[in-house]
Symmetry: C2
Subunit: 251 residues, 2 copies
């Protein structure tokens, strides 16, 4: 399905939830069976195991042994729940500010990558209208502080920031796609590619694709590591080169 998000609801309500603004205690009335935190935790657990597609309100309620509609007392809707989930997992990066600006950017990238690894469904969460909660904001502050220390002009810092952010989320997302599909479909990436051996046998045209053929013959694809290993090193390689470029552009 399409990207899963909204935050379309009342901004004030959503922000209060994201920052857990404690409503004044309610002395009267029925005691709640579940809390917002429990709902978010359960939702994350379901999504971790079975993907965001399986994270339905009914499924989460079942997890908590509660009626489906009870959730709506605590959370406005599914879109807002996803906002809460995303900000919660972004808070898992505890970012330690040490080292050069480059080291700190790489640290940020590494921690963010780890979030995607632990929660592959983040691939399906759009970040262009992000949850304005502590998880997101702390991360932004961290990278911006690092980039500002690099010596770039303020305006350049913001441009570089968008580029870095785009790379990190984009690369982490595609890296994680593989595992997510493996988990949801029950078929590993290697198995999937293996089943498509027919393609190379029956459809690949050596004359139409000379560059690929040459690389193949040069042994460029004779790699020892697994598919996941290769994506990992490309992540590191790409970030390094991007930072090289940013650094070089300052002179």
């Amino acid at each position: 399905m399409a990207a899963e998000r909204s935050g379309g609801g009342d901004p004030a309500r959503t922000l209060a939830l994201l920052w857990r603004t404690p409503a004044e205690p309610k002395p009267v009335g029925r005691k709640p069976k579940v809390s917002v935190d429990q709902i978010v935790t359960a939702a994350i657990a379901v999504a971790d195991r079975e993907g965001l597609g399986a994270m339905s309100m009914a499924r989460v309620a079942q997890e908590l042994a509660v009626g489906t509609m009870s959730l709506y007392t605590h959370v406005p809707g599914k879109g807002e729940l996803i906002d809460l989930m995303a900000d919660a997992v972004l808070q898992e990066r505890d970012l330690a500010a040490e080292g050069t600006w480059r080291e700190r950017v790489k640290h940020y990238a590494d921690r963010t990558r780890a979030v995607y690894q632990a929660h592959p469904w983040m691939r399906d969460v759009s970040m262009v209208r992000p949850p304005l909660g502590p998880g997101l904001m702390d991360g932004q502050e961290f990278v911006l502080a690092a980039l500002a220390d690099s010596g770039l002009e303020p305006r350049q810092v913001t441009v570089a920031h968008v580029a870095v952010e785009g790379f990190v989320h984009g690369a982490a997302a595609s890296e994680v796609d593989d595992q997510q599909l493996a988990a949801v479909t029950g078929e590993s990436g290697d198995s999937w590619w293996g089943a498509r051996q027919v393609f190379w046998d029956d459809y690949f045209d050596v004359e139409r694709y000379p560059a690929m053929t040459a690389l193949w013959n040069a042994g460029a694809y004779d790699t020892a590591g697994t598919l996941a290993d290769n994506m990992r090193s490309s992540f590191d390689y790409g970030l390094d080169k991007l930072l090289d470029g940013i650094e070089g552009g300052m002179r």
Copy 2:
């Protein structure tokens, strides 16, 4: 919902569809009311207008004035239809091989970006288990040929390839996210951010976020252009820096 894909069906059947292997003519039997091409075209039209979430089998059938189940005669299922859609739009990049390797990579990025602009639902299509059709393969051949001309070692070409591919798809995806959300939710990005003015008023903490505050005060966010303009220039900036880094790494 979650990323929309599968290609989980019979690889041989899917490949035959992707490459439009003409089945031997059927002399007898009822004449088909629709063709595979018509189905793919209609599906793309729906997704372009209303997003991939709205592209249901029923909706596409309606578009063609045909019963829902008729589609299943021509296409194995929804996952395979999405494969066909993705490969079809990737074919729209007609890639002209001229100029230096850098110019060609940038040309590739530009054409791919254009595909995302024209078909924002591509954001929701995973590319880790891609449709092995002509659209994808021609693109791969084009970038690989360019990168191979750069003088990188064969093994390095493949690593750089993954990094470039990741950047291009990732950046194009987030760039397009904004418009897609605007189209689906009916709320523009600027309007969305405007409605979250409360955040800066009520939640933003100047002491907790000194770097952001400093940048703000330095006028780094006093940009004339629209949100879309800024994302566009960050795309170009990021790709440039990445290529700078790749080029510099060869020395």
